[in-house]
Each structure stands twice: as structure tokens, then as C-alpha cells.
Amino acid sequence: MAEQRPRLAHPQPGNSKQQTSRLARFGLGLAVAAVFTGVVVVALSAGWTWFAQGTLDHWLLSTTFTIERLLPLVGAGFLLGQLPARFRLPVLLILGFGLVSALITRDTLMLLLAPLPGAATHFFLVGPIACLIVGLLLVLPAQMRFWPAMILMPSFGSALGLAIYFSDPSLHDRFYLPLALPVALWLILIAALVTGLVTAAWTRIGVRVYGSWLVAIGMLYGGAYMASKQTQLVPPPFVEPPPASGDYPGFQPLLKSLDRHGPQRPVLGTDHSGIGDLPPGEERGT
């Protein structure tokens, strides 16, 4: 009994190493599985669009894979990958917190950012802000990044969340956010995985150089947007409806439906949950 006590208090170095290596292999396996799953999801989404439309022009993820979005995402991945393993999860969680809270409180965030020159006409400058935050963190020496990351990553997450929300290429496609948000996180994880695996000394310098580029890009584009003379949100040119004859131009095909009453006028749509419900908190007028 007395012999067993020290064994429990001080595990043998060999066992500890074995456990660490097993844990590392498990983590790596998980990461590879996540990368593979992500590749499948992105490929399926692109393939489906191609099959249905014969082009990828209107692919829901087309804005996710623009260079402006990829640069800060990859930067965030580099940051995570070069952090000591025990710090990665807290930083990732706080990034996710910023991202989700931005989606919930986007009106407030927009109001906060709106006074910046050129903000409203340039997506509230969230692209340059994201580049600046990640760039500044990457420029720091690797061992000094954790606490600044814990402070700045919620803002990065918020900028990312708003950027994703605003760059919906569709008319509020219900699949856009459920697809674009995980894919953005997946891109960060891929970059983190690669950076975590390739630990040669030059990668530390390379990542700091990349960070300095991000700072420069963020400042250049942020400056250009703020100096932009475009202060009005200009929609595409409106097109007048086709000339129509009849008493109610444009509505002739639907008049019969409007003439029906009650059960003879069935509601369209496969899922009626929420169709036509009043917004939460709204009271009906009398």
C-alpha cells in the first residue's frame, strides 16, 4: 500500500509521455476528420449549385471564399495554431462568443460603428477591422499573444459575424447562415491545424510577416473606405413592372384566389410554422 502512494502522486514520465502522445494523436485524428467533413460539405454545396444552375456564380458560399474574407480567417487560424495547446480552446471559444453575440446584437453594433466615416456604405468597415485585429495579434511574438487575443478576439468574432451576415449573396436564403458560419470556423481550424503541424522556426517569422501584411491591408482598405466620397447606399437600378392591361395591372392572375374565402383559400408553403405570425413582442392592433 505504502509503495503504491508515490506511484499515484508522481506518475512515471514514460506513462505521461504516452498519454500525451495518445491525446495528441486523438486530437489530430479529430482535426483530420473535421477537415475531411468540411471538404465534403463544401464540395457537396458547390456540386449541388453547379448541378442545379450550371454555374457557381450564385453559390451561397461565393462570398465566403473571397480573398477579403479568407485573409483574416487564415490569420485567425495561424494565431490559434501557434498558441500553446492549452490556450487554443479559450481563444476559440471567445471568438465564437464574439461571433454569435454580433449576430444577436447586430443593430447595436451597427449603431456603434455607423459614426465612422464611410462605415455604412462599406459594410461598417468590418473587413478592415478584422484584418487589423488579427494582424496586430500576429505581429506580436508568439509567447505574448494569449492575453491580447483574449481581449481582442471577441471584437474579431463580432467583425467576422457582421461580415458574414452582410455578405449574404441571396435574398435571405435560409441555408446561408447555417452554411457560412460553420465553413468560416472550419477555415480557421484548417489554418490552425496546418500551423500546429508545421512548427519549423521560419513559420514563426512567416506568420509575423503575414500579420504585418494584414495590418497594412486593413489600414489601406479601412483608410480608402473612410476617405470614400460615397456616403449614400445606392441600390441597383430599379426596373418598372411590365405594362399590364386590365383593371388591376399585375394582379389579374391572382384575383380568383383573392375571391375565395376560408378553407377554399388554402395557405401556401410546406411548413406553416411561423408563416404570418406576428413578430415576438408585437401586440395586435384593435
Binding site: Q53, D57, H58, T63, T66, I67, E68, R69, L71, D107, M110, A114, F123, D168, P169, S170, L171, H172, D173, R174, W213, A216, I217, Y221, L233, P235, P236, P237, F238, V239, E240, P241, P242, Y248, P249, G250, F251, P253, L254, L255, K256, S257, L258, H261, R265, P266, V267, L268, G269, T270, G274, I275, G276, D277, L278, P279, E282, R284, G285, T286
Partner: protein
């Protein structure tokens, strides 16, 4: 020293390439992306509003998107099946946005909108979709006024009333009239966009 200079030059070149690559991303920043020209039909029965029609004519670019997505046989027109597919998609995507339509009386939401019919057509590659909505609770407007605003609060789509026949009244017996005005007090998207405010007023 020479090696350092080369590295610096290489770094600058890559930076220049990155900036160059960023340029094509700029047009994607355009907001709003979609322009919709509106016509509205108020369907009345003896002073009671029972239905609402909305006709949306999309801008040329978004019409192209819709044709690419739904005109499967590429004939420039929507067949019955294609109309059904477009209808299901729009209803599924926009029902939680209440089809951007706010019907209010005395500042409070008046009733629910339920889509009961849909039509879509393409003229010269410009797509117009038309919704017929049922009102869950018919609104007795005799001696009262109803307010209508159609706006996308995220400003992905911008709405504008058509120049001709924008507001139409059906079966009102000549007792109701519509009016429209700009409503700066209802500005949205951080106060940058001023919606058209439509009123429907009926005699007692």
C-alpha cells in the same frame, strides 16, 4: 545583405499580389444588392380588408440570378413547375421576414399575412413575382386607417413603389383611398433608409 534585400522585395511583391487579389472583392461590397419595384393591391369587401396583393419586379441583375436558378429549361420563361419551385423557395425563405410587410393600425401590428397564391413571369429577362396574401383576421376599416410599410430592415433588398398603378384598390365601393409619403420617423438601417409609408383610409 543581398539575401535580405531579395526577401524584402519578394515580400513586397506578394503584398502587391494580395492587394491586387483584393480588388475583385470590392464590387461584392455593394449594399443593397437587390432593387424591387412594388405594386400593392388592397382587396376589400364592403369596407373590410380581406386580402393583399404584392407585385415585386426585380432589378436586371437579380432577375438574371432567379432565371439562372429557376428557369431550368433556359427558355427565358417560367413553366408551371418552375413557378412552383420559385414560389416554395421564396415562401420558405421570406415567411420569417413577414415578406418585409408591416401592416399596422394605430402603431400596432394589425394582422397576419398568409400567402395563398403566387405567380411569376419574365419579360425581357426582368422577373416579376406576385403574391396574394390572405389576412388571418379581416380588418374592418370603416372610419379607420391602416398603415403599410414594405421594407427589408437588413437592406439586402431596396423597395420602391412603381411609377404607374403602384397602389390599387379592389371592391372598395369608392369609400376608401390610399396615400403615400416618405416616413423619416421610420428610418431604418441605422437611420439611413427612409421607407415609403402607405395609408389606406376608409369612410365610416
Amino acid at each position: 545583405m543581398t539575401r535580405n534585400r531579395c526577401a524584402f522585395r519578394g515580400s513586397r511583391s506578394i503584398f502587391a499580389v494580395l492587394l491586387f487579389l483584393l480588388l475583385p472583392a470590392l464590387p461584392a461590397l455593394a449594399h443593397p444588392d437587390i432593387a424591387i419595384t412594388l405594386r400593392v393591391l388592397f382587396d376589400m369587401r364592403r369596407g373590410v380588408l380581406t386580402g393583399l396583393g404584392e407585385s415585386w419586379t426585380f432589378d436586371a441583375a437579380y432577375s438574371r440570378v432567379l432565371l439562372d436558378q429557376f428557369d431550368r429549361d433556359r427558355d427565358g420563361q417560367f413553366s408551371a413547375e418552375e413557378v412552383t419551385a420559385l414560389r416554395d423557395k421564396l415562401i420558405a425563405d421570406l415567411s420569417h421576414k413577414h415578406f418585409f410587410t408591416e401592416l399596422t393600425m394605430d402603431g400596432k401590428w394589425a394582422t397576419r399575412l398568409q400567402p395563398v397564391d403566387f405567380a411569376a413571369e419574365s419579360h425581357d429577362s426582368v422577373v416579376t413575382v406576385t403574391f396574394a396574401f390572405d389576412l388571418a383576421g379581416p380588418l374592418d376599416l370603416r372610419g379607420r386607417s391602416l398603415d403599410l410599410e414594405i421594407k427589408d430592415k437588413d437592406y439586402v433588398a431596396a423597395f420602391k413603389l412603381a411609377d404607374t398603378a403602384a397602389l390599387q384598390l379592389r371592391s372598395d365601393g369608392g369609400h376608401c383611398r390610399t396615400s403615400r409619403r416618405s416616413a423619416p420617423d421610420h428610418a431604418y438601417f441605422v437611420g439611413l433608409v427612409i421607407p415609403d409609408h402607405i395609408s389606406l383610409t376608409c369612410d365610416p
